[in-house]
């Protein structure tokens, strides 16, 4: 199957700090993401995962290098264009859900579509469809504070998916969830990916979560150390990820 390039990262460098006291958090990252990929980036805490994701999702700017999304360099776009890009091409899942507590789950899910000017009925239909897929059908009228963490995060996933974005960025989506809730979310994401509906880039420090991906990259000390691709079962994949971690001796907690 021929798949097209969605994101192309070239020699990405990010420094933090004032001049003379800079630390280089990302030290030249290269990565290409194709349509319908499910990539996990793994690394210990402080290795620069969030930083990388922030740059990819245009919330932050890199010091050097370029990020091509859909063939356009996002580091060179104006604020207005970036907003549109985030709105139309990118979906986000945050570690702490970030649902709006002012509105019901359904309104939260439908929000990006409504903002895009899609007709109300269509928004409603799509929201319900996604909620069904994520097992949230009975919770649509609830407000975020009435939902469990897992339900909130699945809701956030629905919100990320509703506009049919080219790529989903997820920053430790299971980080705040217990293992059952985390598993439910990952299962749902995997299903969407397998149906060919989503390209996912997930960042995590947790090998179990990473084992849901097709490819896992290990980020350590601001550089990509290796890539592990899934061959057989998820169990086998998980064991291989663990082995790699141990062999690298990193502190993955």
């Amino acid at each position: 199957m021929h798949s097209e390039k969605i994101v192309e990262i070239r020699n990405l460098v990010k420094d933090y700090g004032v001049k003379g006291f800079q630390t280089r958090v990302l030290k030249g990252i290269d990565l290409t993401i194709f349509s319908n990929d499910f990539i996990a980036i793994m690394g210990p805490s402080g290795s620069g995962k969030t930083t990388l994701l922030n740059i990819l999702s245009s919330v932050d700017k890199p010091t050097l290098g370029s990020v091509l999304l859909d063939g356009r360099d996002i580091t060179k776009l104006s604020n207005k264009e970036l907003s549109r890009l985030r709105r139309d091409k990118i979906g986000f899942i945050f570690q702490d859900y970030n649902l709006l507590d002012t509105m019901s789950l359904k309104d939260n899910i439908a929000l990006p579509l409504a903002l895009n000017g899609v007709a109300g009925r269509e928004c409603s239909r799509k929201a319900e469809e996604l909620a069904e897929m994520f097992g949230l059908k009975d919770h649509l009228d609830k407000y975020p504070y009435q939902l469990s963490g897992g339900q909130k995060q699945r809701g956030a996933a629905c919100r990320a998916l509703i506009t049919g974005p080219e790529i989903i960025f997820a920053d430790e989506p299971t980080g705040a969830l217990d293992s059952k809730a985390g598993k439910d979310l990952l299962d749902a994401l995997l299903r969407v990916n397998e149906q060919g509906n989503a390209t996912i880039l997930m960042v995590t420090h947790d090998a179990y979560s990473a084992s849901y991906a097709k490819d896992v990259y290990i980020l350590s000390d601001g550089a990509m150390k290796c890539r592990i691709s899934r061959g057989g079962s998820r169990k086998e994949f998980y064991d291989r990820i663990m082995d790699t971690q141990v062999s690298m001796g990193g502190d993955f907690t």
């Binding site: 700090g17 004032v18 985030r86 945050f94 709006l100 903002l115």
Partner: protein, 636 residues
């Protein structure tokens, strides 16, 4: 660097928490203090009954509204503060502090804030009073020179009221903290304002609100006799309650309807701001209601001041119709008098009218005012022509009268239909009541009835005393004193012959109508205070809300909601916040001005329109400013 930034951010956050409470409290103190300053100023020194009585009624009405305002504003601001602080000091629970100690911590904290607010409020209040005074002076040639000394009573009374109410809310906060669970304390900010209420309850509230409001309006505009004073006070209380219920019932109902109807809701930014309005409704409907009531007061005060101004001009014009009026039982003196006055002044117009003076016991009527003067129609008609006044309504038939009254400031007797007089055994119906100054100043101090000539001739031979009124308007009223000696000599000469003769001279610099200026100034002052109060409530509320929005807007920006759209959503939400109370106010003010119309028996609809527009202009300014501030505080 990030630590410094964090510390700075923390500091700014808590400063804004403290500051918003201090400012709200100081503001309340300021308003109360300003009002007390008026009550204790020399403004009312010149007043006499019954005007003093009228003013007292008005002051009572304002006091009722201000007490509501005070309670509400302190309740609101301490509540916001409590929820914010609970989250922060709730952390101490984990350090092993008991709820009681945390409660004490809160009480001491609020005590200091309260004291700071008191000092600030009184200080700024004193300055503001001076400022208002200057505005008042600059505003109008007829306003009174107000002298606000920094007297002790207003300070003491203001402090007393404030301390009493504030202590109440400190205790309430303390009890609240002592009683709350750990979880509740930490999550205080999350759930304080919730959201969907029972539909039936809302419908009930809305219906009750409309009913109470309508009753209030009815009481306000109902015509009646002396009981009008009580029904006006009742109307004020009912309107406040009705507005409150309307905002508590109808508004949530409406907006919850929007939220339910997704086809309406999911349209651009609408889902953002309508959900926000609903989210805050529970907390905010009281704010809307309060603002609405305050605005209603300010519009009514402004309309009253306009009306007072008109009325003052009219009263002065009424009095100045003639400069000299001689009342005598001697007929045919007009030419002689004209000659006397003509020596020092140019006469513009003159008239003479014959009238019968009746003892009060001979006239029977609903409102008995004292002695009555009966004037034949033909005499008044020719007088009107001579003096260039409006012609009379029409010739009364033999069983009809026309009353000649004067311009009054207000009359609580608003029902003037079905008035009859029984004179000499005949029942006469009043067909009209005019305040055209046919008899000038004399019309102001007596009761005059115009009757059909034939009926007059019937009454005349019955032997009641006949009087003549000679009136003169001169070219230069300022020069009235020049003719004084001749007229005085004339009067004493006639009196010496045993006649009843008197002379009225109108001094254009006369001060007896000045008390109306007092009212005028009071109304303008009250208007300024209330406009400021209502605008500031909304302003304060939005200021607080904006901080809570920060996090949400960050998320929205991350998911690709552009700054422009966020700003649009904010301006819609804020527009709604300002427009709702304004709309209800504009509707209610129609009735309050209508009530005023009846009290002053004058058409005030133009005044209504202008006043509402002026308040609208103020609100647009407030609106612009709060939108700006909101952008800034919410970080967009």
């Amino acid at each position: 660097m990030s630590i410094t930034r964090l510390a700075l951010q923390n500091f700014r956050k808590s400063v804004s928490t403290y500051l918003s409470l201090i400012l709200s409290l100081a503001f309340t103190i300021m308003i109360i203090y300003n009002f007390q300053c008026i009550v204790f100023s020399d403004l009312f020194d010149t007043l006499e009954e019954p005007n003093k009585g009228y003013i007292n009624v008005i002051i009572e009405v304002i006091t009722v509204v201000l007490v509501f305002f005070l309670l509400f504003f302190i309740w609101y601001s301490t509540n916001v503060f409590l929820t914010r602080r609970k989250r922060e000091i709730g952390i101490y629970v984990f350090m092993g502090l008991s709820n009681q100690r945390i409660g004490k911590l809160y009480a001491v904290e609020t005590l200091f804030i309260g004291a700071a607010a008191l000092v600030l409020g009184l200080g700024v209040g004193a300055l503001l009073t001076q400022l208002f005074q200057m505005i008042l002076l600059a505003l109008s040639d007829i306003s009174v020179d107000l002298h606000f000394q920094i007297a002790l009573e207003p300070v003491l009374i203001t402090t007393g009221i404030y301390v009493a109410v504030y202590t109440l809310f400190i205790i309430k906060g303390y009890v609240n903290i002592v009683r709350s669970s750990v979880l509740n304390m930490i999550s205080a900010s999350r759930r304080n304002e919730y959201v969907r209420e029972n539909r039936l309850l809302l419908v009930g509230k809305a219906v009750l609100g409309v009913a109470i409001l309508s009753t209030g309006f009815y009481l306000a505009v109902r015509a009646g006799g002396v009981e009008v004073i009580e029904s006006l006070l009742a109307a004020v209380v009912l309107v406040i309650m009705g507005v409150y219920l309307l905002f508590g019932g109808f508004l949530p109902l409406l907006f919850q309807g929007f939220v339910k109807n997704k086809a309406v809701l999911y349209r651009g930014e609408r889902t953002l701001w309508i959900n926000n309005v609903v989210y805050r409704m529970r907390k905010n409907y009281r704010t809307y209601a309060m603002t609405c009531v305050l605005m209603l007061c300010s519009v009514t005060a402004l309309a009253t001041s306009f009306a007072m101004r008109n009325r003052y001009d009219n009263i002065v014009r009424f009095r100045r119709t003639y400069t000299f009026q001689i009342l005598s039982d001697v007929p045919g003196s007009q030419e002689q008098l004209a000659g006397l006055i003509g020596r020092d002044n140019n006469i513009l117009y003159e008239s003479c009218v014959e009238l019968l003076s009746l003892d009060a016991s001979l006239v029977d009527t609903q409102f008995n005012y004292g002695n009555y003067m009966i004037v034949p129609y033909s005499q008044v008609a020719s007088l009107a022509e001579d003096a260039g006044l409006e012609p009379l309504f029409r010739e009364p038939a033999e069983d009809e009268v026309i009353g000649l009254s004067h311009v009054v400031l207000l009359s609580f007797i608003t029902d003037r239909s079905d008035i009859t007089y029984t004179i000499n055994g005949r029942v006469l119906r009043e067909i009209h009541d005019t305040d055209e100054p046919y008899l000038g100043y004399l019309q102001e101090i007596g009761n005059y009835l115009v009757v059909n000539d034939r009926f007059y001739d019937e009454l005349k031979p019955l032997g009641w005393s006949v009087m003549y009124v000679y009136s003169f308007g001169i070219e230069d009223p300022e020069n009235f004193a020049a003719s004084k000696d001749e007229l005085d000599a004339f009067v004493s000469a006639e009196r010496a012959q045993g006649h009843y003769t008197g002379c009225v001279t109108i001094d254009p610099h006369d001060k007896t109508a000045d008390w109306i200026k007092v009212l005028y100034s009071l109304c303008i002052f009250v208007f300024m205070v209330f406009v400021l109060a209502s605008g500031s409530i909304l302003f304060m509320k939005l200021y607080n809300d904006a901080f809570e929005e920060r996090g949400r807007y960050k998320v929205l920006q991350k998911i690709g909601c552009s700054e422009r759209r966020l700003r649009r959503a904010v301006s819609r939400e804020l527009g709604c916040t300002y427009a709702l109370p304004f709309a209800v106010m504009a509707g209610s003010a129609f009735f309050s001005v209508h009530a005023l119309e009846r009290l002053m028996s004058e058409n005030l609809m133009t005044v209504y329109g202008v006043s509402v527009l002026i308040v609208l202009a103020f609100f647009l300014v407030f609106y612009r400013a709060s939108v700006r501030l909101y952008y800034k505080n919410a970080g967009i």
